[in-house]
Subunit: 330 residues, 2 copies
């Protein structure tokens, strides 16, 4: 369950969760995905994400096909962050009258990513709305019960590691918001817009991390700062992040400058890279197990246990103040 | 997958399904819920329903708590129609700013029905919208692989049977649409409004039917006429419905008259009773296995195999013309 992307009431998740029966497994609301064990040796993992026109996307900025891809991708990313394998998806769409063609294009994008990743759309619901367009994907998958990645698995001495580069998607969104046609036409804009419209879920990386013995991960939906806080709180640990070591998107630096690129990496979100913690002695094994083309950057360290968790951001070794803002809707 | 409730494009489901990889099991899009076998001996069943303010509900006509109940109930009803047991639910809500209290009331209603039925809400997504309010529930459960109720299981000679009474929910909605305070205050209105706001998913009945060997069922979301057509088409059978034998809601007859009550039973929908076909020789065993307080009415018969399926409606033995209209949004 993830309410951080919009309601603006940070305690709402807890208030809603308090109304539900407690889960016997302790796994569920609060992690990237819910997980439960229907029988010994099996673990089912499930997640859902809702995208609303005007909040999460604009149809003049994205194609319906890309939007379909992204709606499935953000759910697959939740499973990747748990080290889980994708299974079956249910797709709900609320459409305006006359948007049937658009529904087909959405499905084309969903089907394209489903084919690549092995997910299968098995059903859904298509309803009418006066607007805006709403798209919901629910996804179930499975994981090895003793190989689950959790937000609460960090341990003192662990390294904090991020995959790929960060800030590209938020930079792409920033270019769309600015709307400067000359900048949007520059070649550096292409990968930034692609990162925003067609995020790649790190399923192979999540599986490799789980297989190598990593225990703590989260996907970057809301920016490195927000996700580091999630890990710190769930683990009850103090985490230091060296912001100089963030693997910034080169194109974001080229088009927006290093300061803005760093800000977007920390607080922009939608990179869908994985942020994880790993004992230093395990890092070589993790590197050896990586999928091709995945690079890792050590950006910090878990320093100590601390009730409630905390994150310290360091620049040239000096603490700096970073807002935990996370995703900012346009 | 069920697009009959709003888009107004009856071929949209087929157009969307054509974009997806075919399902190895042949179970999925087109039945009340999707089903797949993750391993021999196990069958997972999954469904999702999206409710949109102004299309499926109005907040001046329903409490948020009742709406939460109903959102879970309609999904549970899909599982009941497959003979499946409820498992875990994912709840997505798109809210306007300031509607956090409303989200809590929605969750109270969801949690109330979850407790009664054994379903568990394990996660979800809560996002912002400029409006209208949108509520999506995705639900997974399980069934015995050799005891699944399907739309396509009717056979010549089977009796067509419906549970409970029909037309009450649509009558309740008709009273709300008419808005006559004097009528709404009459005692007969109470059960009609309750049927509309707090439908009861027939899980025990679905399990009893599956256990007794019934093979063909559907839940009444869109009215008896529409659901009979679904059974007829999926089974490739001709079905006769004797409209004089419909178990009309007594309160609907009292407040709206028999003709309108019958029309609402046939084309109103949202009763969430089960409509099923059963060999005549099996009916006694089915009656013996019924949960307490469930009554059955034989309303017709499967007469013959017929390519594409067909439904004939008879009044006093004479064919009459019934629109397949199904759910009509206000």
């Amino acid at each position: 369950m993830n309410a951080s992307r919009g309601v603006g009431e940070f305690d709402l998740i807890e208030r809603l969760a308090a109304r539900l029966a407690p889960l016997e497994s302790g796994l569920g609301i609060g992690d990237d995905a819910a997980a439960w064990s229907p029988e010994p040796g099996r673990l089912v993992v499930a997640t859902t994400d809702m995208l609303v026109e005007g909040i999460h996307f604009r149809l003049d900025w994205t194609t319906a096909r890309d939007l379909g891809w992204k709606a499935l991708a953000v759910n697959l990313s939740d499973l990747a962050a748990m080290g889980a394998r994708p299974g079956r998806a249910l797709v709900s769409i609320a459409l305006l009258p006359g948007q049937a063609d658009l529904a087909e294009q959405l499905y084309d994008g969903i089907a394209e990513l489903a084919r690549i990743t092995g997910a299968r759309v098995v059903g859904g619901d298509t309803v009418r709305t006066p607007g805006p367009l709403v798209l919901n994907v629910a996804l179930v998958g499975d994981a090895d019960p003793d190989r689950l990645l959790r937000r609460g698995g960090a341990w003192p001495g662990d390294l904090l590691v991020v995959s790929g580069s960060v800030g590209a998607s938020a930079a792409g969104l920033a270019l769309l918001v600015a709307g400067d046609a000359a900048v949007l036409a520059r070649p550096e804009a292409v990968p930034l817009l692609a990162a925003h419209h067609r995020p790649w879920p790190q399923l192979a990386l999540g599986a490799a991390l789980a297989g190598a013995g990593v225990r703590c991960a989260i996907d970057i939906s809301d920016g490195v700062a927000s996700e580091a806080w999630h890990l710190a709180r769930a683990s009850g640990m103090e985490i230091e992040v060296d912001v100089d070591r963030l693997p910034l998107s080169g194109e974001a630096v080229a088009l927006l400058g290093p300061a803005r690129a760093r800000e977007l990496a920390l607080t922009g979100g939608e990179d869908y890279q994985l942020l994880f913690s790993v004992p230093e002695a395990m890092l070589a094994a993790v590197e050896a197990a990586l999928p091709p083309d995945v690079r890792l950057s050590v950006i910090g360290r878990v320093t100590a246990a601390r009730e409630g968790g905390a994150v310290r951001f360091l620049e040239a070794g000096v603490p700096i103040d970073i807002q935990e803002a996370g995703y900012v809707a346009f």
